[in-house]
């Protein structure tokens, strides 16, 4: 790691001292001959110096091939050396990170998902973004209880044993914080896609549909219009959800990406509310209440309300509208050369499937339709990609998603015309990345 990792390109040796005959010998595999040739070519050179010379030679090839590495010549590590597997140490740069200055207390803060380095649509569990309102806990699942009360025939208590016995579903859904991209309403504020869009993740969740649980308690189908979901942590986060959403596709999840939820994501139980902003996916879920009116909780009255130019706040703005962003290349990244790039990104809609994604390389004047990679699922991230031959001239990259309702992701300008610049929440504007002649990509707003 102390050495700068090479690009894999072959760097010219300082001098061309090998004859075509010698090269031919090497190609025939006569390496001993080669070493001899070097020893005589470089007066007083040691074997080490000679092999370094080989390493640099255009004619001979890449030292990573020619000099067999330690891992090819030694004994590797045993099974279960790390009983719970970890990413390679070379991947340590891809981490959840806080945005400096955004919050003042890290127990009521956000860590952003490193979208700039992810592939496909599934977020690795350890990189799922975090948003805690009063710190996180690792709750003993044998002591966790889940209650349903309110407008039900029979208020019930379930243990985790009970919940995990019930019929379950496994579904892939995105979760996006309502405040994702919130720092960008007024002007460019943060440099990379991790900070502009990283309050976004997508996992396969497993759990019990609310329809099963509400039916099991005999909820009041006439009067029951809302449910309140409540967490077991100190903040005991509460959010209202319409009964229609609850019965449609919401579920209580205990698993994520094939294992139990991570503590930071609500172990042992959280609400999954597809298409609805992340704050409603109540973590460490302890209770659902069926009611006839919405609850106007703190996070529905004082936060997660969208300030409009006329000074009113919009309440119950829950649905995450259609949005997309190019992740490769994206802000803070550098293209290393001219030529071909597979431009790729993510698109999603809280109202259903993504129907199409268009990409522009000229700041929105002209668009080309990108390829959607399968699967394309409802209320789930969709990966798109499009080829790009960069000739070295400046460009402005944008993506524009269209969902199955026909809704077209808006421009920043169009959002501001209606909602002003102080709304904080629900910024689903088209993102612009400027590609400079020096290869650097940066976050810009296009007027």
């Amino acid at each position: 790691m102390s050495q700068r990792p090479s690009s894999g390109r072959i760097i010219k040796a300082p001098e061309n001292f090998l004859s075509p005959a010698m090269i031919a010998e090497v190609q025939r595999g006569r390496r001993d001959f080669l070493r001899g040739a070097f020893a005589s070519a470089i007066t007083g050179a040691t074997a080490t110096v000679a092999s370094r010379a080989v390493a640099q030679s255009t004619s001979l090839g890449d030292p990573n091939i020619l000099e067999l590495p330690e891992h090819t010549k030694g004994l590797g590590q045993p099974v279960a050396a790390t009983p719970y597997g970890m990413p390679s140490k070379y991947e340590a740069n891809l981490q959840r990170r806080e945005s400096p200055g955004l919050t003042r207390v890290s127990a009521a803060s956000v860590s952003f998902c490193p979208l700039q380095g992810l592939f496909g649509i599934i977020t690795p569990s350890g990189l799922h973004f975090e948003r805690h309102h009063q710190g996180w806990w690792d709750i003993d699942p044998t002591k966790h209880r889940f209650m349903i009360n309110g407008l039900v025939k029979k208020a019930k208590v379930y243990t985790m044993d009970d919940l995990m016995r019930l019929p379950s579903v496994s579904r892939m859904h995105f979760i996006e914080c309502g405040a994702n991209t919130g720092m960008e309403w007024g002007n460019v504020a943060v440099p990379t896609v991790q900070y502009t869009h990283g309050m976004l993740s997508c996992c396969e969740f497993t759990g019990v549909p609310l329809s099963v649980l509400l039916e099991d308690c005999g909820f009041d189908k006439l009067k029951g219009k809302y449910i309140l979901a409540e967490g077991a942590d100190g903040s005991s986060m509460t959010r209202s959800i319409s009964i229609e959403r609850a019965l449609d596709d919401c579920f209580v999840a205990y698993a994520m990406n094939g294992e139990m939820l991570r503590p930071e994501n609500g172990y042992p139980l959280r609400l999954v509310a597809p298409g609805i902003q992340g704050v409603s996916w109540v973590k460490w879920l302890r209770r659902l209440e069926v009611g006839d009116k919405p609850y106007a909780t703190k996070d529905e009255t004082l936060h997660y309300i969208d300030l409009m130019p006329d000074g009113t706040h919009r309440q119950y703005t829950s649905i995450q509208e259609c949005k997309s962003v190019i992740t490769t290349p994206s802000g803070g990244q550098t293209l290393m050369d001219r030529g071909y790039y597979n431009v790729s990104g993510l698109a999603w809609s809280g109202r259903g499937r993504v129907k199409r994604v268009d990409v522009s390389f000229d700041g929105g004047r002209n668009w080309k339709t990108a390829k959607l990679e399968s699967p394309v699922l409802s209320k789930c991230l969709t990966r798109f990609s499009i080829g790009f031959n960069w000739d070295g001239s400046p460009a402005i990259l944008q993506s524009r998603a269209i969902d199955e309702t026909g809704y077209v992701q808006p421009q920043m300008r169009q959002l501001r015309q209606v909602r002003g610049t102080r709304s904080i929440y629900h910024n689903n504007a088209i993102q612009s990345w400027k590609l400079d002649t020096n290869g650097e990509v940066s976050n810009v707003h296009v007027g």
């Binding site: 700068r4 990792p5 030694g74 050396a81 740069n93 891809l94 003042r104 490193p114 209650m147 009360n149 029979k154 208020a155 208590v157 016995r165 002007n187 440099p191 039916e215 099991d216 100190g234 005991s236 509460t238 449609d248 302890r286 209770r287 106007a296 703190k298 009255t301 004082l302 969208d306 000074g311 009113t312 706040h313 919009r314 119950y316 703005t317 829950s318 649905i319 490769t328 990244q333 293209l335 290393m336 109202r351 700041g363 002209n366 668009w367 524009r400 309702t405 809704y407 077209v408 421009q411 169009q414 959002l415 002649t437 020096n438 290869g439 990509v441 976050n443 707003h445 296009v446 007027g447």
Partner: protein, 364 residues
């Protein structure tokens, strides 16, 4: 012949009818099976005491609000003891959380709309500027405050703290006692009580958004001017972006500790992530890296002895380090059985010493 045909037609019709009745019956059975599909042996009835312990939410119509009362004066005492350190004496602090009080006027209390919310230049939005439902404030203090000891306040203390906050905004006078009896009247004084709009298009999944774009493909009427860019001084404000990107792939993170390069960097000169800060290598890591763990583990014999056994055997032997270093370097056999330990000429003396010392402590 005609009679015969009629008979067949009737017969077929009867069969069709019977079939469809059967299907309908089957559907009915199916539906009733679903309706009755309950899991009587899963979960149990909640006791009234359990529901009471957890069902603490208070709605805008004050359903769920427990009876009680608290004065501004008592609220101030609690505030100074438990709230002030984060929120400031007058709820004005912006240090830890956003301000609670400030930005509201008597005129706002008349209209129920906070005028400063219309001003783009107004620096902060305080809690009282936004507060439209008093139940939200009471409920939140009751369930989540104080920050580090949520749910530790008594019901009367929650009334008192709520009263103190309302007094900070001049919504109630200093001698006021807030209670379940008068809370609805106080609700009617809130400066921003008319400031919330329930926005259905983004509540209903089938709703239509309020902002629309078109899917224009060519020569779109878009003015491509840069309205905002990252200021130069903020280049490294989020840390070195090179260290937040992968070491391989089509792109690298820009080295934001340096100004942007004037021209495109050729591949080998592209700044790449600095190595992770070197951690002190431990004996355990060394053992793993040197594949000692293939034959030795902490507490049981594998191919070779466990670290615990090694520690036990050489306890108190002052020459053990030198002896074992030699064994690791040159290999050996016979002490622990017939299977020899291979020599490790590739290891440095310093690494061998660390490994041996670590082994002699039982691999801890």
């Amino acid at each position: 012949m005609a009679k015969c045909l009629t008979y067949m037609w009737v017969r077929r019709a009867v069969i069709r009818l019977l079939k469809s009745l059967l299907v309908a019956a089957a559907l009915l059975v199916g539906i009733s099976a679903i309706a009755q599909q309950q899991y009587p042996d899963i979960g149990r009835a909640a006791t009234p005491a359990e529901v009471k312990a957890w069902d603490i939410d208070v709605r805008p119509d004050f359903k769920g609000l427990p009876p009680g009362s608290g004065s501004v004066a008592v609220g101030q005492q609690i505030w100074e003891a438990k709230c002030e350190s984060c929120h400031g004496t007058f709820g004005e602090s912006n240090e830890v959380f956003t301000p609670i009080a400030g930005g509201t006027t008597k005129a706002d209390m008349e209209t129920g709309r906070v005028a400063s919310l219309r001003r783009p230049d107004f620096p902060q939005r305080s809690t009282l500027m936004k507060l439209s439902q008093l139940s939200s404030l009471w409920d939140y203090i009751n369930r989540a405050m104080p920050w580090n000891a949520p749910k530790s306040l008594t019901t009367d203390e929650v009334y008192a703290v709520t009263a103190y906050i309302l007094n900070l905004g001049d919504i109630i006078p200093s001698d006021f006692v807030l209670s379940d009896k008068n809370i609805a009247e106080v609700q009617a004084r809130l400066p921003n009580r008319n400031g919330l709009v329930k926005f259905m298009p983004m509540w209903d999944v089938r709703g239509k958004g309020d902002v629309s774009n078109t899917a224009c493909m060519t020569n779109c009427a878009t003015e491509v001017t840069l309205s905002s860019t990252m200021p130069d001084h903020a280049r490294n404000a989020h840390g070195n972006i090179a260290e937040q990107n992968r070491l391989v792939g089509p792109v690298r993170g820009a080295d934001t500790t340096k100004p942007p390069p004037l021209a495109m960097a050729v591949a080998r000169e592209v700044p790449i992530a600095a190595p992770a800060p070197a951690k002190a290598v431990t004996g355990a890591e060394l053992a793993r890296k040197s594949t000692c763990v293939a034959c030795h583990v902490a507490n049981r014999k594998l191919v070779g002895p466990s670290y615990a056994d090694i520690a036990k055997k050489y306890a108190g032997d002052s020459s053990a380090v030198a002896k074992l270093m030699d064994k690791v370097r040159k290999g050996g056999a016979g002490v622990w059985g017939v299977i020899p330990m291979p020599p490790h000429p590739e290891m440095t003396d310093a690494d061998i010493k660390m490994l041996v010392e670590w082994s002699l402590q039982g691999g801890k």
